[in-house]
């Protein structure tokens, strides 16, 4: 089938302005949706849901947010990881501090909080541009990380650093099995993508793109840079923040049913995104990060060099802490740990950034990339046993 617009005539502007005016696009999207909603549930096993598809969906949501800011509004940012953490912690705090707050509302509030923080950290973009702005956004990254590490209120003073969020429910639907979680994330992502697409094809999207392509001309046309840029920051941070909230509630509560407090979210978010390498120790580390971290325990208080945990299949594994690198995050309560610059942060946002840049060429590319990286991991994990 050839991809071309020729010969597809429209007889009204409404038809020409529908969400996917080209027939091939409509069919492709429909196909992907059917596959995601029907095909995958038929094919997937639990491991696939938990280890690959759920994080895949959540990170796609985050990439969607980054895409709006970087791809559409042209504001290079390296701070996406920070907003994911803000969303996660905010959602968590709303959820435990307000009795009976529905899960849906908590996640949305997490997103909104992240949007507010996004606006604050977006203010420099009104004066600072390009690479200078990119570096300046790292300020958000380091600052939020420090805040979550140092202020125990955000983690509810939990002595173990982990708190349980029991029964995740949405309007009577108990989200318990990996399949439920997959479906929940999928619905969430689909709706978010729809909203994002609508924004990018209406006035607000054109404002963003105008600012991206030629800001002086945009202003002359009557676009206020203040509104355009900050709205992009807000919308982007909202999506990234909800992704963080989903990560905290849906993904990490897998199995253990717990939400690990402290700086775990940034660790997870960022640690996750390491590109696969062949080193076995590193694969183990990834695996620890991803699946067993809430059960990681120091071998002994005196020896911080080794941690043990369960890998995904319940086997006990040990891992050198210098492989983990973000040691401190794993021992939040053993005195004030020496603060080390959070290495892994840089890696969190960057692939998202790269993906987002690519996705300017075509959104499917980003999904494909993410999928590739995920299957790579899947393959290696499978082969290990």
């Amino acid at each position: 089938m050839l991809y071309r617009e020729n010969g597809q005539f429209k007889t009204s502007y409404a038809a020409d302005q529908q969400i996917f005016p080209i027939a091939q696009d409509r069919w492709a999207i429909l196909g992907i949706l059917v596959f995601a909603f029907v095909g995958i549930p038929l094919l997937g096993d639990e491991y696939l849901f938990r280890a690959i598809l759920i994080p895949f969906l959540i990170l796609s949501l985050a990439a969607l947010g980054v895409n709006i800011l970087v791809g559409f509004c042209g504001q290079i940012t390296l701070g996406a990881g920070a907003f994911m953490a803000v969303g996660a912690y905010a959602a968590y705090n709303f959820h435990i501090r307000i009795e009976g707050l529905p899960l849906l509302v908590s996640i949305l509030l997490g997103g909104l909080t992240s949007a507010l923080v996004g606006i604050v950290f977006g203010i420099p973009s009104l004066r600072v541009r390009g690479l200078y702005l990119a570096v300046a956004t790292l300020a958000a990254q380091f600052f939020t990380d420090w805040v979550f590490l140092r202020i125990p209120w955000f983690t509810n003073n939990a002595s173990s650093g982990s708190v349980s969020v029991s029964n995740l429910q949405i309007m009577g639907w108990e989200i318990a099995t990996p399949f439920d979680k997959y479906m929940f994330c999928l619905v969430w992502l689909t709706i978010s993508a729809l909203l994002a697409k609508n924004m990018t094809r209406s006035a607000i999207g054109r404002q963003w793109m105008a600012i991206r392509d030629m800001d002086v001309a945009a202003e002359v046309i009557g676009i206020r840079p203040l509104f355009a840029k900050l709205s992009a920051f807000a919308v982007s941070s909202f999506f990234v923040g909800t992704a963080g909230a989903l990560w905290g509630f849906i993904h990490l509560s897998v199995g253990a049913g717990r939400f690990l407090g402290r700086s775990f979210v940034p660790v997870a978010v960022h640690g996750h995104y390491r590109r696969p390498r062949l080193d076995h120790g590193q694969l183990l580390r990834r695996s620890l990060h991803r699946h067993a971290a809430d059960r990681v325990e120091p071998v002994s208080a005196g020896d911080r060099r080794t941690v043990r945990g369960h890998d995904f299949d319940g086997r006990r594994v040990a891992c050198r802490v210098d492989h983990l690198r973000l040691t401190d995050h794993f021992f939040p309560d053993q005195g004030a740990p020496r603060y080390r610059p959070p290495v892994v942060h840089r890696q969190g946002k960057t692939p998202a950034l790269a993906i987002s840049a690519l996705s300017r060429a075509g959104e499917p590319v980003s999904l494909l990339l993410e999928l590739l990286s995920q299957t790579h991991h899947y393959y290696f994990n499978k082969r290990r046993h």
Binding site: V128, A139, W146, V216, R277, D279, Y339, A357
Partner: protein, 309 residues
Amino acid sequence: MGFFIETLIGGLMAGMLYSLVALGFVLIYKASGVFNFAQGAMLLFAALAMARFSAWIPEWLGIDSLWLANVIAFFIAGALMYLVAWLIERLVLRPLVNQEGATLLMATLGIAYVLEGLGTSIFGTAIYKIDVGMPKEPVLILEGIFEGGLLINKEDFVAALIAAVLVALLTLFFQKTVTGRALRAVADDHQAAQSIGIPLNHIWVIVWFVAGVVALVAGVIWGSKLGVQFSLATVALRGLPVVILGGLTSIPGAIIGGLIIGVGEKLSEVYLGPMVGGGIEIWFAYQLALVFLLFRPQGLFGEKIIDRV
């Protein structure tokens, strides 16, 4: 007072090292328009090479002079950095000539992944030592003037000295030599430089090699202080606020920016830190740079951006 000066000196000495790292960024940005996010990975790679070769060479050659082993290891690591520069030019820069800044930034992220991965696969992931005989014990000076004297860390002092010398050499190289002038021409306009016969590719290899050497020296200094391990790659993150504070295109900016950040960081940690629970060093540098940028969006010495329509 003595304590304040001590902190100040400590800050200046740390700042000198930041300047060195920042210089790595500035050199590459000036000459190839690339914002090199792989600077940290280069630093790690160089330090790993240095650490491992200085351990391997005595084994292989049966030399027991530590000094000689270190010198040989340094040159091998330097040669490796040349190879890296050459490969980067060949595989990354050449295909991407005249691309947008953001694209090149992405490419350097790729370089960072490859270098980190390669470095740890070849050299291993344990913590290694670099022992170049840096003096470890602190000394007290000026005991006559200040009560209790000033405690100066000799290691930091030597490190700052080395950094200062290197920074001076690089500045001279950039300003006075023919190659340096060619570099500046390239920085202004790739195509124009090419059209007057400056060999772009050759220039890029040189610049990336120089940045590699800067990374190597910084890696050795930091490696001997902290041990060579993965977190060394983050040292470069310390250089970023320096670069934007000083201005991406300015060598004096990198130097002064480094000193400002070094001093600001230490003073804030000592005087502000206890109030908020400590550990503010890392983000303080970024906030400082950010506040600065709000007043001068192009950094201290960066070129002003004028919109013409």
